[in-house]
Amino acid sequence: MQYAAVARILGIFLIVHSFGLIPPLLISFNIGDGQYMDFIKPLMITLGSGTLLWFFFRNAKHELRRREGFLIVAAFWLVLSAFSALPLMIGGHLNFVDAFFEATSAFTTTGSTVMTGLDHTAKSVLFYRSELQWIGGMGIIVLAVAVLPLLGVGGMQLFRAETPGPFKDEKLTPRIAHSAQHFWVIYIGLTLACIIGYVLSGMSLFDAFVHSFSTLSTGGFSSHDASIAYYNSLPIEIVTEVFMFLGAFNFSIHFLVFRRLNFGYYVRNPEILTFALIVAGSVLIVALVLYFEHTYASFFTALRHSAFTTISVITSTGYTTQNFAIWPTMVPVFLMFISFIGGCSGSTAGGMKVIRVMLLFKQGYRELLQLVHPAMVRPVKIAGRPIPAAATMGIWGFFAWYVALFVLAMLLLMLGGMDQVTAFSAVTTCINNMGPGLGKVAVNFRDIDDYQKVILSFCMLIGRLEIFTLLVLISPRFWKN
């Protein structure tokens, strides 16, 4: 293990990350909300720690390998989340656990919040929260498109060959730097488009920035307690739906589409196609239940709310226009379940990812056919290409761990005295990086105790790091040289 190299990279991360505090600082100065010290102090601390780390290990320029990759990925989210909590501790007057929860939730693009009274919170803080999600989103794209396939986490080695850019085994940096540039350009482009869309549909410029940041990152922080319901505007809902949906696409497909200017790539991608079908089906199911249970008078209203909520949930954004926790019968639980599916791989969305769900289904069906034809040989195929056994096994393992950790986290929460519905939804929403829950955590997470907040923070990290990255770190074998 090249600890020095890891420390050096981490130092650089911290230095770069500290610059993220400058925009909210400028806003604070500009508006004069008196919060600027809350950003200057963390800026000094983060920049200082980063520089120190970097300075001590500046000569450790070893080539990074898989092992360091796991460590860096985990450290990126854990350490940056901790440092990101500083402005909230100082400015948001939250205690450390709350601030850490909020920062982790932002950085993993979950969007669960412990803060209330957002409408009266300083603008710079609101901007900072959304910006954190946006930065987290940038990290996730690189993680999901470039790093995880290399590390072969949960069957994601599938995408190794498909991603553009040069590919050299075992050497992480050149390839990642290369792909990152491409994807960030698209990410920034989409964010700008989203801002324009919001402004055109009547949002103020500040709100447009804040919301576009958390829309594209499928995070879900809003600058209002009422979330998107604050605007009660159909155009804004539609803009949000479109960009949440786009944010949940595989960014390498976006890349292909933009480079070749051929929208056919979207339709030809089996994962995106399945994702669109699942979304359409879920929207319809929810709308029908809402309509037949007389929650909304007209089918159109039911469809409008169903479409917004379903897309928001399945892309793991977590914006709300209606309090879906009080929707009738199975709808809240159904929404929780579909958040497990999540968006496409290589997107900013959470959940297990559509490709894995697709493969789980195909493999399950294959097992069924195998019973009818015991001698049958039949690989699972996506778009006519057989999936290697290692990837299928990886996906099974991923699924089992997902379920296991879900159950474990739920039991741990209940051990702390939480009721079943709240515990179920809290773990679901955090492990899938979605945002709102049911029961006591339907609106925000302020009323649960610190022990539960820490567990949920870890759930967010586990979900974001696709489980295996963290599992690997706690396995003794990893540390043996």
């Binding site: 001698a375 040989v377 039949r378």
Partner: protein, 457 residues
């Protein structure tokens, strides 16, 4: 005609055997001296031992004045290079090569005259696949041959009790089916050919060859036997080159299962095939066949490259209840052995391949030749050229033609029209005439008939 055959394998040697009886000058090239000696012993051919693509070897085989070179060695590459050599050094007019690999065949520009100078590409696997596909598309037929791009088919069926025409004279066919035109080209009764006349009575177990437009085939067959329902469930034993192609060409329309006993091969097959079910196991495993509902299978095709395994597994499948079994049999001797027994249809790769080679050997403008009944009979599609003065056929009615004995004109394709031949049908220039020749020794006469006379320029 001077012909050099490269490769004395299954196809090469049986081709030599077929051509040598027609007063051709055959030279066979192979690198296996034993094989050549054995062939030379019982055939009137010349043999040259050596690597087929070397110019010296070709020269010593008489490539200088050869009319045709047929490259059918095991290796695609040798075949292609041999044709190149023949073209560049010896200027051989007609070059035929067997190329199996789809990887080459997919790029047609490779075989343009300026690239690889091959005039005719033959792919036995593809021919056999097409043959099997036609048989499966025409339930009940023993043989289905395409003419004029599939507009006309020659179909061989066995007449059974219960067919309306069985026990009746041929001329009743018209009364039975006033709207459908067909012509019975030949009848084989206990392996002997009968020249069909209007008063010929069809008996049960006769093998009847008739020619009709493709759409009418089913109706005609229903006159001769109870018509089988269209096939649906097919088991292919052996996932080699042929089995794979057959499965690929059938899987869209039929429920296909492929059995192979080679694990890596099944992996490959299952990734290439879309909807077929690939089974790993021994095709002669009774339990496996039962498990896969052999008793409800319409067609069992044994397509491995092992004759004995094919025959045995086919017999087993038939015993277990498969409705039809088709078996690929390389050795001619086995074909006779099994044909009248449990195995419904024996497919001989040589016979299928040779037809397409013979097409290019025949004089006159012959578009298609199908070799039948182990080469004893032939069905020919020839084009009539010229006018009444230069051609022996154009402008004449069929009854006026001096056809050799045992030769029937079945149909004429004029543009897109299919005309079933009657005694008063007049042949025009550019007609495609489909003939059935019961005895091969009259082929030469047929060729002469379709050659344009000297007056034609």
């Amino acid at each position: 005609m001077k012909i050099i055959i490269l490769g004395a394998g299954q196809v090469g040697s049986s081709l030599a055997e077929n051509l040598t009886t027609e007063a051709n000058d055959i030279t066979l090239v192979d690198h296996n001296p034993d094989l050549l000696r054995a062939l030379q012993d019982h055939l009137d051919i010349r043999t040259v031992q050596g690597e087929a693509s070397y110019p010296e070897v070709l020269a010593s085989a008489g490539a200088d004045d050869a009319d045709m070179i047929i490259a059918v060695t095991d290796s695609d590459e040798t075949n292609m290079i041999a044709c190149q050599v023949a073209y560049t050094i010896f200027h051989t007019p007609t070059k035929i090569a067997r190329v199996r690999a789809v990887e080459y065949l997919n790029h047609t520009q490779l075989f343009a005259q300026e690239a690889l100078p091959i005039d005719v590409l033959i792919s036995p696997e593809q021919l056999i696949t097409d043959n099997i596909r036609r048989l499966i598309e025409t339930p009940g037929a023993l043989q289905v041959l395409d003419f004029a791009d599939g507009q006309v088919q020659l179909v061989g069926v066995k007449a059974y009790y219960g067919g309306p025409l069985v026990g009746n004279e041929l001329r009743r066919l018209r009364e039975h089916m006033p709207n459908i035109d067909t012509r019975v080209a030949a009848i084989y009764r206990r392996n002997r050919a009968i020249i069909p006349e209007g008063h010929t009575v069809i008996e049960a177990d006769d093998e009847v060859f008739f020619i009709a437009a493709k759409k009418d085939i089913r109706a005609v067959m229903s006159e001769l036997r109870r018509v089988d329902n269209p096939y649906k469930r097919i088991i292919v034993a052996g996932g080699g080159n042929i089995g794979r192609r057959v499965a690929m060409s059938l899987e869209r329309k039929y429920q296909v299962k492929v059995i192979d006993h080679n694990a890596p091969r099944t992996q490959l097959l299952s990734s290439e095939l879309e909807s077929s079910i690939v089974l790993y196991g021994d095709a002669a495993d009774q339990d496996l066949l039962l498990e896969e509902n052999i008793e409800n299978t319409d067609v069992y095709c044994a397509l491995t490259n092992d004759d004995e395994a094919n025959i045995l597994s086919s017999m087993l499948a038939k015993r277990l209840g498969a409705r039809k079994v088709m078996t690929l049999i390389n050795r001619a001797a086995y074909v006779d052995l099994v044909q009248s027994g449990d195995i419904d249809i024996a497919i001989s790769p040589q016979q299928v391949t040779i037809g397409s080679l013979l097409t290019h050997v025949r004089r006159g403008d012959v578009v298609r030749v199908h070799s039948l009944r182990r080469g004893a009979a032939e069905a020919i599609e020839a084009v009539a050229h010229g006018d009444a003065s230069s051609s022996k056929v154009v402008g004449r009615r069929i009854e006026e033609l001096k056809l050799p004995p045992g030769t029937t004109i079945g149909a004429i394709v004029r543009g897109n029209d299919v005309i079933i031949a009657h005694h008063d049908t007049r042949i025009e220039s550019e007609d495609h005439v489909i003939l059935f020749v019961i005895n091969k020794k009259y082929i030469v006469d047929v060729e002469k008939l379709f050659q344009v006379g000297f007056t034609f320029i």
